[in-house]
């Protein structure tokens, strides 16, 4: 057992920091830091992917043959941590972390050659079409159908909560290709171009003023049959693979650490009664709890990355990361809001442009905090609700 970080990794961290200082455009960084919305502006996100790609670092976690960096799990951890700490735009996770691994593991050479470079180079963002109005936690009941007619699938149905679909050129969808078998067996994984005839995308106005989530209506959409990944009927298996492939992603550990740093900044700058909020014992106690909880989460991530042997299956550890990761996202953003007190109530327009210039009364750390805290209520809902995760834990850890 060796729990101290290898010294070479500290050098690696320094190298990544220097790299980011050199290549991350300050105006993108500034927009990221001050954005009111939760999601990065798509042009910034794609521009950043192109920059990373030019340095061979846009998909570091992929196998080297497909453009990965060949880094160890700990190196990837540090790379991600530094990306977030530097306020770099987030990856388009749907492409880089979900579709990408499914494609290079199960996709045909044709699909790999066609789509992997697009993802790697940041040609587009990707929409993920899994959930349906009647199929949320019970995803396997999904009804959007794809019927093979000649060389094409004809797709009919409706998807919902399709993140970013309004800006995406392409999406990957779970569709039902066989209604005669057990629900999980009849699902396939299909890539659909979103400007195809019959596709209608409608943005859903959200609690925080954003409209990132979308509904996607598919009405007799014709999709070339070779855009089905792997084999028909294997979609459920691939979807499970992609969720398990990135076991530690749902912890949002890098994100929450950055947001904790932001909360600290607020506590040191915001004053009440001539005293910094940071000097209030009750507030300090809250920070102590939250920071300790985040350290625990980080070590739980490291244990999964280090493949610690355990009596319970690794998937149980992944559910722990999802539960704690989502809870702490909510706690850290609500702490920010609480620190701002009534100032948190002002609505700031969600727009690609920067929020109003800061004043003494309305410092730069105010806009955006509430918008993010509000949409963070979604963290315990998407990707398997907290309750579904607990069902999984009861089964995997206790055999119930």
């Amino acid at each position: 057992m060796e729990l101290r970080l290898e010294p070479e990794l500290e050098l690696f961290r320094q190298e990544i920091r220097a790299f980011l200082r050199e290549v991350l455009p300050p105006e993108i960084q500034e927009r990221q830091r001050r954005k009111v919305a939760n999601n990065a502006a798509v042009p910034d996100q794609l521009e950043w992917m192109r920059i990373l790609c030019a340095h061979g670092r846009s998909v570091p976690h992929w196998p080297e043959a497909f453009g990965g960096c060949g880094w160890s799990p700990m190196q990837l951890f540090i790379f991600n941590e530094e990306l977030y700490a530097a306020d770099a735009p987030e990856f388009d996770w749907g492409g880089t972390h979900m579709l990408g691994p499914v494609l290079y593991t199960f996709g045909s050479k044709y699909l790999q050659d066609r789509f992997l470079p697009m993802i790697r180079e940041g040609a587009t963002v990707w929409a993920q079409g899994f959930s349906e109005p009647g199929s949320g936690s019970d995803l396997a009941s999904l009804r959007t159908s794809a019927e093979l007619v000649g060389e094409k699938y004809v797709v009919n149905g409706q998807k919902i909560w399709t993140s970013g679909a309004a800006h995406a050129e392409w999406g990957f969808f779970l569709v039902r290709t066989d209604k005669t078998v057990k629900p999980q067996r009849g699902i396939s994984f299909l890539i659909i171009k979103l400007d195809s005839p019959g596709v209608t995308v409608r943005q859903i106005p959200q609690i925080n003023g954003e409209a990132h989530l979308c509904e996607v209506f598919l009405d007799n959409v014709e999709v070339p049959a070779d855009q089905l990944i792997g084999e028909p009927g294997m979609g459920w298996t691939y979807a499970k693979f992609l969720l398990e492939h990135e076991r530690t992603t749902s912890s949002f550990i890098y994100w929450s650490k950055r947001e904790l740093a932001r909360a600290k900044d607020i506590a040191m700058r915001e004053q009440l009664g001539g005293r910094r909020l940071a000097d209030d014992p009750a507030i300090r106690a809250r920070f102590a709890r939250l920071e300790a909880d985040l350290i625990a989460l980080e070590w739980s991530v490291l244990r999964v990355l280090g493949h610690e042997s355990s009596e319970t299956p690794e998937a149980a550890a992944a559910s722990v990361l999802k539960i704690r990761g989502s809870e702490l996202q909510q706690e850290v953003t609500m702490l920010q809001v609480d620190l701002l007190g009534a100032k948190s109530l002002r609505y700031f327009e969600v727009a690609p442009a920067l929020p109003p210039a800061p004043t003494l009364d309305w410092p730069d750390y105010v806009p955006g905090r509430t918008a993010v805290a509000l949409i963070s209520r979604a963290a315990t809902i998407y990707g398997g609700t907290k309750q579904v995760q607990k069902n999984i834990l009861a089964k995997l850890a206790f055999g119930l």
């Binding site: 920071e291 300790a292 625990a296 280090g306 834990l393 206790f398 119930l400």
Partner: protein, 375 residues
């Protein structure tokens, strides 16, 4: 970073599994409760035979020079088995202090006696109104004499003192600032000990010193270094106790999972109810986070004092909260049986509560860690 076990760690855990499984936790505990010391000295001798009592001790004293990780893994096993033996007081806390004292004095002999199981040690530090973590000068006073020192004062809640042969006593030396540490045989004239059990069956004592005469070599650490030596040793003891808490929580979860399958109400196992399943899931998450925090404490065990203390307090927060959640939910899940002495969960509850309040409770560690955040 490597989470796999070394050969010595695998050996330790194998031997722990064998020995501790012979007398299952709660049963052994119930038996030993009526024993004056609260544990079986023959089993302590087995601890010595297995090398457990020599584990972290220096080789010069017959020790195995094991790492803090080795100690922690063994303590996870001890916690799992609800072992009431005074392992942490002697082999972790006292050993750490003795190991830092002059190697040619009585400390060396003390370590040698500890390694073979001949003597046990306990810390006498706590006094009413004094923060045990602060390292401030205690009320107990040592006056210098021609032959050494004379000690006067009173200590309370000296854990494991009733079974100890020698005490490590914190005192202020007259005319000096700071905290000094003395090695005092329990048999010393003028020392009296009022023992009592704690709710978990372990033993503690209030100790008074009336003109206890000590030689020069009884001084283990002087006024200028004593506080730091004590703080370092207490931190090591906390790591071992946190490891026991992790073991106890993991075992409690196993006990609760089994009970949920076996207990039937409304014609079905209560584990088939989602309300119970989600309670267990929360307990699993808590124990998982607790183990993670043990690793964080271990990773910082030898860091500079400030970093080390921050890490340990952060770990005590998460592990203390997790202990409460696991033990409280554990009783709830057992219904009325959870409150009986018969069912192991009530023993885990009591043990976890005792660990949570030693060397600073949740409030104290929250304040200590909180003070480092905006430093």
């Amino acid at each position: 970073m490597d989470f796999s076990r070394s050969d010595i760690q695998t050996m330790l855990l194998d031997s722990a599994e064998r020995l501790l499984a012979e007398d299952s936790g709660a049963e052994y505990w119930r038996e030993q409760r009526h024993n004056t010391l609260g544990f079986d000295t023959e089993r302590w001798a087995r601890f010595a035979e297995l090398g457990w009592l020599a584990l972290p001790l220096p080789e010069a004293a017959g020790g195995l020079a094991g790492s803090i990780e080795d100690v922690a893994l063994l303590n996870v096993a001890l916690g799992r088995a609800l072992a009431p033996e005074p392992y942490v007081s002697s082999v972790v806390l006292a050993a750490d202090i003795l190991g830092r004292a002059a190697p040619d004095g009585p400390a060396q002999q003390a370590l040698e006696a500890m390694a073979i199981g001949a003597e046990r040690f306990a810390l006498a530090h706590q006094e009413t109104g004094i923060d045990p973590l602060a390292g401030e000068a205690p009320g107990t006073l040592a006056r210098r004499t021609g032959d050494g020192f004379v000690l006067d004062g009173a200590k309370l809640l000296c854990l494991d003192a009733p079974s100890a042969h020698q005490l490590i006593v914190s005192a202020r030396i007259e005319g000096e600032d700071g905290l000094a540490l003395f090695l005092v045989p329990v048999s010393a004239e003028g020392l009296s000990l009022a023992p009592y059990p704690l709710i978990d069956g372990t033993r503690a004592a209030d100790v008074t010193f009336r003109a206890v005469a000590l030689g020069h070599d009884a001084l283990l650490a002087g006024s200028n270094g004593g506080a730091a030596v004590l703080a370092a040793a207490i931190d090591r003891a906390q790591i071992a106790l946190m490891a026991q808490a992790v073991g106890a929580m993991e075992a409690a979860n196993t006990v609760c999972g089994a009970y949920a399958k076996e207990r039937k109400q409304f014609g079905v196992a209560i584990g088939s109810f989602q309300a119970i399943q989600h309670m267990l899931a929360d307990m699993f998450v808590a124990a998982n986070q607790a183990r993670s925090m043990l690793y964080h404490a271990l990773a910082n065990a030898d860091a500079p004092a400030e970093t080390r203390q921050a890490a340990i307090s952060a770990a005590r927060i998460v592990i203390g909260e997790a202990s409460q959640l696991v033990s409280r939910s554990g009783i709830q899940l057992h219904g009325g049986y959870g409150l009986t002495d018969e069912y192991a969960i009530s023993h885990y509850f009591r043990r976890l509560m005792c660990i949570e309040k030693q060397f600073g409770d949740l409030n104290a560690h929250t304040a200590r860690f909180g003070a480092t955040i905006f430093a």
